[in-house]
Assembly symmetry: C2
């Protein structure tokens, strides 16, 4: 026992706070003082769930008992997700391989609890979504972050994985499109990474939360390339259901019994109202609406990207998905966290400092989210221009 | 590396399947063949969420954006839970100490991720709810189960804890009322346990999921006895909201920053529709309805308990809460699992074998749940009598 009585577990020291919280707390204060803040830090769509989803929820809540569901989700939703893979991505995924979860968060918990042994190392890029590191730490693994930059579109490549694999490495985590960079991994490179990981007997976990929000042609799911990968997806972003907390994981068939056992014990089941609501997410009308909304995100990107470049932000790689722009701000400040707070104070624009996504050149970058209307983004750009 | 390529993590071997699943699968088969099965194995109320909760959900779903909420839950729900402690239990609990979670499952995950270091031992009774062991294992701790029997109402006492505490022990988990035994720990004994654990610098975690379903006077919450305990509760059982997946944890104030950081990373937030719906769970009309339902559970217990005793089941301690009766079946069978399957085949009654709750005298016990109507319970008893 090398800890004091009543100390929290050692892992808690590895779970870092979100620096953007400081920005958001200060933004709330300023708003309470009557100031209008333009929010370009928020990682959720400004659209609510589609009306079809809302009416399906109302119907379920009024007319279904909403007891526990099967631990991996109701069979009809697992089938709908499988159908979506078939019709949207042209790939056959058995419903048996799909676990419906409490958000992508629940999917990460399931996947990493199933796979990570204490001391295992998981390779992931820096910058990346910070929870990726934390989920590995939660189960006593260690994130091994590899710096990535614009020369490889802020994504890992197979050569990185090969060069850095050692005896303790057990897996690779990739997000495509990525939060915070909005960049994607090509199918060819992703296939090469999966091959490399397979050759070492490891695991590839692909975060496809933003896969539906791709703007340069349809991006391939990793499931089209291999059936021994773990894929995480969500109803939050493309389907605009953030607060409903629903996501899913696709796992190789041989792990599903263990995944189910773990889900029974750790979650019992995902939210029943959300599951019945989500059935309506795959209706043709709903998908048509979601495509309109995707195009609206694209319009916003197509406005914000050149506008930020014109202002002098360094954005060497065009982000092709998600709703983020990862921008170099070295021209304006030595420290992006200080820059983010100054931008909030002086211009009333909230953004996320790079330190939330890793350490490699993090002080030279900030993340802009285009999850607000075009008018608000225009106002944000005007304000930033005024300050700079 | 002492595992094969592609093996799941070692912890998965410690997550046991629920044996009742075998009973339930066979019950489904029999029902598909047209046979009527009496379900006395099910751990959820047969009541749906109260109508006030349903209408609050409809209103929220139709009129609120339902984006991410704060990680620890919406402030108004945390305040309502605090008010409930004040008005129902006469105890002041600051809303700041309350974390709203995805079911009690989410609360256990948060608590144990925050507290369990690899190798830590947690004392808990055998029999107990199997997930208690599994949550500790998930974070590389070890459950140290102590056999408890009728002489101590199937609950731990302070002397057990004191006698078994050693250098690796870090905490104690207690459920009161307990699943599977329906028995409770008296306030005096619980206070003594908490004092003992505190004297060793450890943690007491009390599962109060069934606290609202007490039938012999109001049972004290551990929060009335101490403010350095971790308490888990749920909207599933007393509030009849199982499928909604909403629960809460109360933690000592000094851990809340870490708990919040973990919740942000591991969950983002609990289900927003469920949270807004749960606000209506504390309305006077709702609570009046829930009290009627509690009395209905009491009526069922008061029928089933003597009926099972008359049949020859050994139930030496009157269960005072939850909706379970833990019954000795040695008179009828050497193996309770075999007995449960025979009862299903021959009498069409589904119950849970004791092996789902531990190993101490587990083959001599089964669990009956009274989560079905009095008429169904009467039919169940007739069938069991017929077989025996």
């Amino acid at each position: 026992m090398n800890r004091q009585a009543n100390d929290a577990a050692a892992r808690m020291a590895g779970i870092e706070p979100f620096h953007v919280m400081e920005v958001q707390d200060r933004a709330l204060e300023l708003e309470a003082q009557g100031r209008r803040i333009i929010h370009m830090e928020i990682g959720q769509p400004d659209f609510s769930a589609p009306p079809q989803v809302i009416e399906a929820a109302v119907d379920a809540v009024r007319h279904r008992p909403l007891g526990y569901t099967p631990a991996l989700g109701i069979p009809e939703l697992r089938r709908e997700i499988a159908r979506y893979y078939r019709e949207r991505h042209g790939v056959e995924v058995s419903p048996e391989r799909i676990a419906v979860t409490a958000g992508a968060s629940g999917a990460f918990l399931l996947a990493l609890a199933t796979l990570v042994n204490p001391g295992d190392e998981w390779i992931m890029p820096d910058p990346c979504y910070p929870c990726s590191r934390h989920f590995v730490r939660l189960f006593e693994g260690r994130a091994r972050t590899l710096p990535v930059d614009e020369r490889q579109s802020y994504q890992l490549c197979a050569a990185d994985v090969q060069r850095n694999w050692d005896a303790r490495t057990r897996g690779v985590m990739i997000a495509s499109p990525s939060n915070p960079t909005g960049t994607s991994v090509s199918a060819a490179e992703l296939g090469a990474i999966i091959d490399c990981v397979r050759s070492h007997g490891g695991f590839t976990l692909v975060d496809e939360i933003y896969l539906g929000l791709s703007y340069e042609g349809s991006l391939a799911t990793a499931l089209a390339l291999a059936d021994d990968v773990f894929v995480v997806n969500s109803f939050s972003k493309y389907f605009n259901m953030t607060g409903w907390r629903l996501g899913w994981m696709v796992a190789p068939a041989r792990y599903m019994r263990e995944v189910e056992r773990l889900a029974q014990n750790a979650f019992i089941c995902p939210s029943a109202p959300a599951q019945y609501a989500a059935l309506a997410a795959f209706l043709p009308d709903t998908l048509a609406l979601l495509e309109q909304r995707r195009l609206e995100f694209k319009r916003r990107r197509d406005f914000l990207l050149p506008a930020l470049r014109d202002l002098g932000f360094a954005i060497p790689v065009t982000p092709s998905g998600a709703f983020y722009i990862y921008a170099g701000c070295e021209r304006f400040a030595a420290d992006s966290e200080e820059f983010a707070l100054r931008l909030l104070e002086e211009a009333g624009v909230a953004i996320t400092p790079g330190v939330d996504f890793g350490s490699y050149r993090a002080r030279a970058h900030v993340r802009f989210a285009y999850t607000r209307s075009l008018e608000e983004l225009e106002e944000g750009v005007r304000r930033i221009a005024g300050m700079l």
